[in-house]
Symmetry: C3
Subunit: 332 residues, 3 copies
Amino acid sequence: MFGGELNGPADFLVERLASAETPDASGLAFAEKKKYVLEAKKSGVGALLIGPDLEADGIPSIRVSNPRLAFFKLLTQSDHPYPASVGIHATAVIDPSAQVDPAASVGAYTVIERYAVVEAGATIHPFAYVGDHCRVRSGASLLPHAVLLRNVDLGERSVVFCGAIIGGDGFGFVWDGSKHVKIPQVGKVVIGPDCEVGSLSAVDRATAGVTTVGAGSKIDNLVQVAHNVHLGEHVVMAALSGIAGSSQLGDRSTVGGLSTISDHVSICADTILGGRAGVIADIDEPGVYFDFPSQPVSQARRNMIHRMNLTDLVQRIRNLEQKLAQLEEKES
Amino acid sequence: MFGGELNGPADFLVERLASAETPDASGLAFAEKKKYVLEAKKSGVGALLIGPDLEADGIPSIRVSNPRLAFFKLLTQSDHPYPASVGIHATAVIDPSAQVDPAASVGAYTVIERYAVVEAGATIHPFAYVGDHCRVRSGASLLPHAVLLRNVDLGERSVVFCGAIIGGDGFGFVWDGSKHVKIPQVGKVVIGPDCEVGSLSAVDRATAGVTTVGAGSKIDNLVQVAHNVHLGEHVVMAALSGIAGSSQLGDRSTVGGLSTISDHVSICADTILGGRAGVIADIDEPGVYFDFPSQPVSQARRNMIHRMNLTDLVQRIRNLEQKLAQLEEKES
Amino acid sequence: MFGGELNGPADFLVERLASAETPDASGLAFAEKKKYVLEAKKSGVGALLIGPDLEADGIPSIRVSNPRLAFFKLLTQSDHPYPASVGIHATAVIDPSAQVDPAASVGAYTVIERYAVVEAGATIHPFAYVGDHCRVRSGASLLPHAVLLRNVDLGERSVVFCGAIIGGDGFGFVWDGSKHVKIPQVGKVVIGPDCEVGSLSAVDRATAGVTTVGAGSKIDNLVQVAHNVHLGEHVVMAALSGIAGSSQLGDRSTVGGLSTISDHVSICADTILGGRAGVIADIDEPGVYFDFPSQPVSQARRNMIHRMNLTDLVQRIRNLEQKLAQLEEKES
């Protein structure tokens, strides 16, 4: 299949794909580095797809030119879509003003509200909610428990995972001297084509205007995207990260886990924020940024090392103070 | 309508409210600062509500005394409630021991458990769950997928957004030498009137006694409020923030995004925690606090600047050490 | 009942369990330290279970040898299970290929997909979703809105709280030069017996192989467990914490709130991470670790104190520079 060279018993049967550290005697993993072979040896995984320059160390193996790519192809062949209704399930509750294409898949216990549109080839899984004035474009899907609350346009082939909430109210209030008065949130959310929004992430609709997620962007679990935010194309946001109101993130930028971007901040294209970074001011130079407050990576790394050794630094200052006092005494 | 002065074509038609940075030629935004006019010029937004001392720079505009307030009024007029059932939907599953007022709105695919109470004028949206011994007071609403799990009292006009979970088990265990033994969680949650709990936020019920959210408090998305916490009135908690078990936050306090309050900590009224603050000890003085561990803002700012320049500081110490060594050599 | 000594009116009626700081005149709290008696005096809680060496300060009380344990017993007696269907509710939508034991409890508006298995004594609450090839073992329960998306094995007596999503796609993509290409996620999740997964937490399934949560582990709300992670037995993860792809956490380890573990990191057994810790490298020594980047607690504490006083440190360096300059001037 890969044109690879087999090393080991010809009748060895692989039952599953696995990772090198999985103790699965019928599993096939891949090894592109010696480290992975060592892991496999330790775990007892059944067999390896192995790169041209590696020794399999007695593990049954197939030698291929690019083990990661070969493994990727096997993953693709092993995958299958989530189960989905053929047509519209009898239990779907659909408002008469909504337009649901008969060639859409609409699952059990789904609700489609007024003026919503579900295009042909879209898939609405059980317990998903397509709210007021929302559109699910062709090939897009809402996994179980996904919610489009209001004024959401979900792009072609985009996927909203379980429990993600798109189109909730932006968080805006004005203090009137005795209480917080809610600012009505009448805007919308536009998610481009080929995006993913992970489980339990929230993308709020704009106060007025639009919150945007650009084409091809991928959002992990438990991520907050606030009202009036503009994410560029092919952006990646890792788990537990957040971007506050009216901020902008340029194309192909990446946000690490637990990283945050303050409100009204603009970040240029091709910016990488490491995990736990906190951006509080505009970034105009593409590059890698770390830490809170965020800095270019080389600065941040040096400062982080010094920060971990402040006790030594304080000792050096103390030594200097003592020596200097001695010198001053001599002088006087 | 606003008694404002029109500048620009009298037949210009505004179709939507927008924000200044939205490229919407039929959108109306507001500009109270020159910065917003520049944004509007760049974006091409159709028209502006503009303040008395600003030049519209050729953009069709209406001059008003307070553009933000005028815009707020327009937002209010553009808004409308979420679609809701008239009366009780045929698919609602209601325990015989529950009391649901016929003047409540109970949507499709909702479940109302034993001894629950839903008052007149309350709204239960699809997929919401009103659990064991929960009460939804008059004018309150559960948006789709909101959950009141057990012993929750939701105040008048309060709103629980999509996927928020109120009344889940507090997180308490005791280690018995070989395993974690669960501490039963028999308390409740009381949420006062006029509160909001954002999408995907969690407010746990007390171990015993009560977890409270004071009147008028507003909680953003993805916020954790642990068991036995007491939030005062008119408190604000931004996204991805959390307050741990048995801690207290005074009236009118604000918690920035990703900020945390450790357990058994007490914070006085009128305290503002900046984004990413981490409070590990009581705060008795109202004011603004930043950073982890949190400090009053002026101290925190200075320390943060030094922290970002530790490399320079280390260089200065190195210079001092060298010079001192030279001096000492001379002396000897 | 406890063999305790009563102090106070014999006809005093306790109606509820409470915590010492609850202003509940009919509530019974416990006090094992003087601090709790003071809290109770201030709050006006009705009565106290009090330890052998404490004075109740006029509060009606029952003296017992271990007030915390006595209270724990009362909590256990006050608790009761969540309401559950007897048998399989008429509205449950069950795929013909699924196996649901008639002695399982399957609630209203639940969906059980192809090849799923629900064992005798398992409880599926309303709006829960048991996905493709998932198994819910005996005594396990899915609270309302819990989701097992695909290939999840939930251990005996384990509980998944509201809105938690187990078995979602791992977050993996490769950049092909113009877009992020999704890596298919064909692995599974195995959650051992006696675990808890809190509300709104996510445990992703492995790319290939398995994501594991060891027996007796307890996960709080809003926690992220990424693909291919291995959590040991009796692990605790507090709210808003996260562990990234392929990392490992040893038995009996504890992760504080908002703490994070980077990807491909291995942490040994019996490790405690304080709140807001960020681990970016392997930890091989059991112990307590704090801060970001994480350090052993004693180092971390000293460094944190110095970090909060950097302004003083800078002043000391400035003084040294001035004095040294004066000395140098004298010398020359």
